[in-house]
Symmetry: C2
Subunit: 409 residues, 2 copies
């Protein structure tokens, strides 16, 4: 099947899922979960083939992400069931006004149409994305990494069997069969077929999409997250928060990469920071080098998403300079201020132009589940139309429905 | 001043206006309105020069749009004052949740940053756009049509004088000085400088922006609006609504261009329609030609925004076929169904994928003022991030602000 055929089918089936009621969608989700469990053996066999082919080709950490076992398949099914429990964003009236002539004007949540997701090797993204798309009334076209193709294909086939069981078209959830880069290019330029493209993966993939996409595309993920320690900080809190934000899971996008410290407390705070971050390589600016030892920061160290046990550390004049530094170097993901001064906190939260701005807590909370969205399709670092974690609401747009009885203007 | 210089200044001043409080912004708006009135003489003189240069160059209807007089300048000032009265979308908490660890997570409205508007000859767009941008906390870069340059320049200079009077930077509102097409191209590709580009004008301008913009861009305006007359329609209502939607102001984007009639009532309804639309040229499909006389519809007549006293008329099998026809031919602006059947109305409003979907009233209501937004910057026909009339809220995005007291994950 060509990618074009898949897109045509998705476009054809999108209007049908757009008008399904919540109960039918939930029924389909539960059937998909059941079918996934029923196909556990097939899925694990396909996964074993993927793993075998990938041995020695991809890094061990990627191999672990790729590999499935019975309990991971159960977790995927459970993930789909969780989505069934979330409120339906389609048809939700976001606003309602009455026109003076008597018409009722409602702003109503509606699906995007066809959502395409380009992702890498984690098989659970396949089922998560399909479940979120279905619940939000969208047809979805999935394009997974080639090393995970057999697994993804088995997962999609199982979900399609679930859809058929409740009388729905399998074309609502499709996997691109062409695993070359051509298909990504095709999705990016499928004007009239793809209503929203979400790339999930490394910086290279995301840049390629943002630069080449002619369909609406969401820039996700890259996080050069900053923590600014103000002179009025509770330093114990600051240490605990930085330790958490840097070391609890350094490979994720909401981990901290840069710490900026107010000059008035730098001499006191930096040695404590160094002691707390014993396993972390610090990259110091000139002022910080005068206080503690560490590797001098290179030219790009304040513009790098390390995703590792490395932290760039700088000293700033005041909160205003911290804000300016962030404006220049941030990717717009998550930033935090640690301060007991309400005025500094207020200025920071108003002036910092990122998807999530924290006062006295860890940047690691930027996550759909933590923000109460149930789950997420990725984290947007752009301003149109969704910002931060994208849940069901963010896979929707809205339309105005105007109910009248003969009004003219 | 080069366009690049203007963009650099806009980017520099955006963070300052983003954190201004409502009172200060309203003060600035009132000062802009006063300054505009005070500069009436200069503005009218500049406008007279524009008019003189445009005589014989542009169509009479365009000349009328371009020309100003004392009362039009007063209306512009009044428009700015109205914006001052609207609620401030910046800082508005759209949603608030408490995390189980105690942090408060708020989803807060924030400005886009720098909004660029490319428009044509109507001078009042200059002041409307500047007022909306300022109130929503955005710096704006205006790029007007070259035939209106002197007028727009005089208007912007007056508004800048108003800004200075209240101690604000004139760079918050700037007019592009280069009136060649180069500057439009520069705005479209000003990644890192323009956060939102809004083209207002003809189909050519909008297509050029959508195809060439690498900055986030809103597709506005083009409206091939449909009215479907169901077999269960109150035909008297239908006639009045179609007459209004077609003839009250045919040159605007929310005017109807296509009428689809259910086959069961076509023989009865079409002669009445023809009688009511005496001054309108009908373009008939094959089925309609068998009932009334008129010009046979050409190949493109069901895909044309006539903006004139012309209406394409077709006969359809049922509401489902009307929905399919609209899915294929609509620009996603505004569509209406005329029916007394609740089921047909429900299906139509759910299935038609346009910014505004009407039941038993005229498409002419698609307008920011009519929808309760106060005023508008244009009407979006795309799905990211705003759809339909764009008011102050639609010039904003949001961010999450998380207030904690030491929480880690």
């Amino acid at each position: 099947v060509t990618t074009k055929d898949i897109l045509i089918k998705a476009k054809g089936s999108a209007p049908k899922i757009a008008i399904l009621d919540t109960q039918k969608k939930n029924e389909a989700l539960l059937a998909m979960a059941d079918a996934l469990l029923a196909a556990t053996e097939d899925i694990l066999e396909a996964n074993a083939q993927d793993i075998q082919a990938a041995q020695g080709v991809i890094a061990p950490v990627m191999l672990d992400r790729l590999s499935l076992n019975e309990s991971r398949v159960q977790a995927m099914a459970e993930g789909i069931r969780q989505v069934a429990k979330l409120p339906d964003p389609v048809g939700r009236v976001r606003q309602r006004t009455e026109h003076k002539k008597g018409m009722v004007i409602s702003k109503v949540g509606v699906p995007m149409g066809v959502v395409a997701i380009i992702y890498e090797s984690r098989p659970n993204v396949t089922s998560d994305a399909a479940a979120l798309a279905l619940k939000s009334g969208n047809a979805c076209v999935l394009s997974g990494g080639k090393e995970a193709f057999r697994s993804a294909d088995a997962i999609v086939k199982a979900m399609q069997a679930g859809l058929k069981k409740v009388g729905l078209e399998p074309e609502l959830v499709q996997l691109v069969q062409d695993t070359t880069r051509n298909s990504a290019q095709e999705l990016m330029t499928a004007v009239g077929y793809v209503d929203l493209l979400i790339p999930r993966g490394g910086a290279g993939l995301i840049r390629a999409c943002v630069e080449n996409a002619s369909v609406p595309c969401i820039q996700t993920g890259t996080g050069i997250c900053h923590i600014y320690v103000d002179k009025a900080a509770d330093q114990e809190k600051a240490l605990e928060i930085i330790k958490n934000a840097k070391t609890s899971r350094p490979s994720v996008c909401n981990a901290a990469e840069v710490c900026l410290v107010h000059k008035d407390i730098a001499a006191e705070f930096l040695p404590k920071l160094q002691a707390v971050l014993s396993g972390v390589g610090l990259r110091l600016d000139t002022a910080a080098q005068k206080i503690i030892s560490g590797i001098p920061a290179g030219e790009n160290d304040f513009d790098t998403e390390f995703l590792d046990y490395i932290l760039a550390v700088g000293v700033v004049e005041d909160v205003q300079q911290a804000i300016s530094h962030i404006a220049t170097h941030s990717t717009g993901h998550s930033e935090a201020i640690i301060t007991e001064n309400a005025e500094a906190a207020d200025l920071f939260t108003r002036a910092v132009d990122s998807a999530a701005v924290y006062v006295n807590c860890s940047t690691r909370f930027t996550d759909g589940g933590e923000f109460g969205l149930g789950c997420e399709m990725g984290i947007s670092t752009q301003k149109l139309h969704a910002r931060g974690p994208m849940g069901l609401e963010e896979l929707c747009t809205y339309k105005y429905v105007i109910q009248g009885f003969g009004q003219v203007r």
